[in-house]
């Protein structure tokens, strides 16, 4: 238990450091690398929390694909951030601080982490998902059962989110730009 906590603390402080570094850096190549690192750290955190499915996704998407996409994007744009006016960073800071404050405020009454008597643990859902699942679906991996069947509709929604993202990118960038207009106009 204590090693868990120690690991948690280490991972979280690393994440904080990486986050700050990302915010400070102006050169975007290291930023892309650091976001990959950040994802890897959070994947580790998810593993510690026994959320292996999530960790797997995070590692593959966050640390892998996203970084590649970032790098591909730098091929299209500049890889150095333009200086942002002070006023806008101030607004950003205020929003962040405020959000953080509310989050901390909220955490004051949160049920204790890992406690057995939290609302989530006491809700009949938990029993149902963990016990009845073998009668109803009979799949050893409850996560798959919940995501695929009990909340299959959500998963369908998420697939559609991915699909939408694909359509969006294809629509905006996918088809090579034709440039007939300019020459046509000139001919006119």
């Amino acid at each position: 238990m204590t090693t868990d906590i120690a690991l948690n603390i280490v991972l979280l402080s690393f994440m904080a450091i990486v986050g700050l570094a990302i915010a400070r850096l102006r050169n975007l190549f290291p930023v892309a690398m650091l976001t990959g690192l950040y994802s890897l750290l959070s994947a580790s955190l998810f593993t510690l929390l026994d959320a292996v499915d999530v960790a797997l996704t995070e590692a593959a998407v966050g640390a892998g694909v996203t970084t590649v996409l970032f790098l591909a994007t730098f091929g299209l744009t500049r890889a150095r951030e333009k200086p942002v006016p002070r006023s806008r960073t101030l607004i950003g800071l205020c929003v962040t601080v405020l959000t953080g404050a509310v989050l901390i405020y909220a955490s004051l009454d949160m049920p204790h982490f890992g406690a057995a008597d939290t609302p989530v643990q006491q809700h009949p859902l938990r029993d149902h998902y963990l016990k009845t699942v073998s009668d109803e679906i009979d799949v050893p991996n409850t996560v798959t059962a919940v995501l695929g069947s009990y909340r299959g509709y959500d998963t369908l929604g998420e697939v559609v989110v991915v699909f939408t993202a694909g359509i969006g990118v294809l629509m905006l960038l996918g088809v090579a730009w034709r440039r007939p207009n300019k020459s046509a106009e000139r001919n006119r």
């Binding site: 996704t57 593959a60 998407v61 798959t144 059962a145 699909f163 207009n181």
Partner: protein, 150 residues
């Protein structure tokens, strides 16, 4: 990077296990962590890796963007279609109980189909997005904005 022999060899060695792992994650999701999403991403990572090392053109020849467009749509259709099929069999949308002669089997078929749909869409979409980004090259600022390309 086509000149880096080491990379090419290592990649060739790696891609098959990656794909195998993806398939494992895909079809073993019922028993161990994983499922369509994870499998899709891992599979896409294999294709992307291939494209990074052997070049985009090669990758496109192997997995054409047109195919990805179709499989991406098909994935979503398979998922939703499974639900509709359950509907046609008399159940509610996505009620896998109705897919087979008994409920448990139905659930198993349902999960298998649905996860396959998820995987298909995810791998297609992620690969397409990569293709699009990697394939664009540097743009000039005087180019036509989207939509105005009429």
């Amino acid at each position: 990077m086509r000149e880096h022999t080491v990379l090419r060899v290592v990649t060739k060695l790696l891609i098959a296990p990656i794909i195998l792992f993806a398939l494992y994650v895909q079809f073993h999701g019922d028993y161990s962590p994983g499922g369509g999403f994870q499998a899709g991403v891992v599979f896409a990572a294999a294709i992307i890796l291939y494209a990074l090392i052997f070049g985009l053109a090669e990758a496109r020849r192997a997995v054409s963007p047109n195919l990805l467009r179709i499989t991406g749509a098909l994935g979503a259709l398979i998922f939703a279609g499974t639900g509709v099929y359950a509907m046609l069999r008399g159940g509610n949308f996505l009620d896998y109980d109705y897919l087979a002669h008994d409920a448990i089997h139905g659930q198993h078929y349902g999960l298998l189909l649905v996860e396959f749909g998820v995987g298909l869409t995810v791998v297609s979409v992620i690969t397409s997005i990569f293709y699009v980004f990697a394939g664009r090259g540097r743009r000039n600022d005087d180019e036509q904005p989207p939509g105005d390309a009429r």
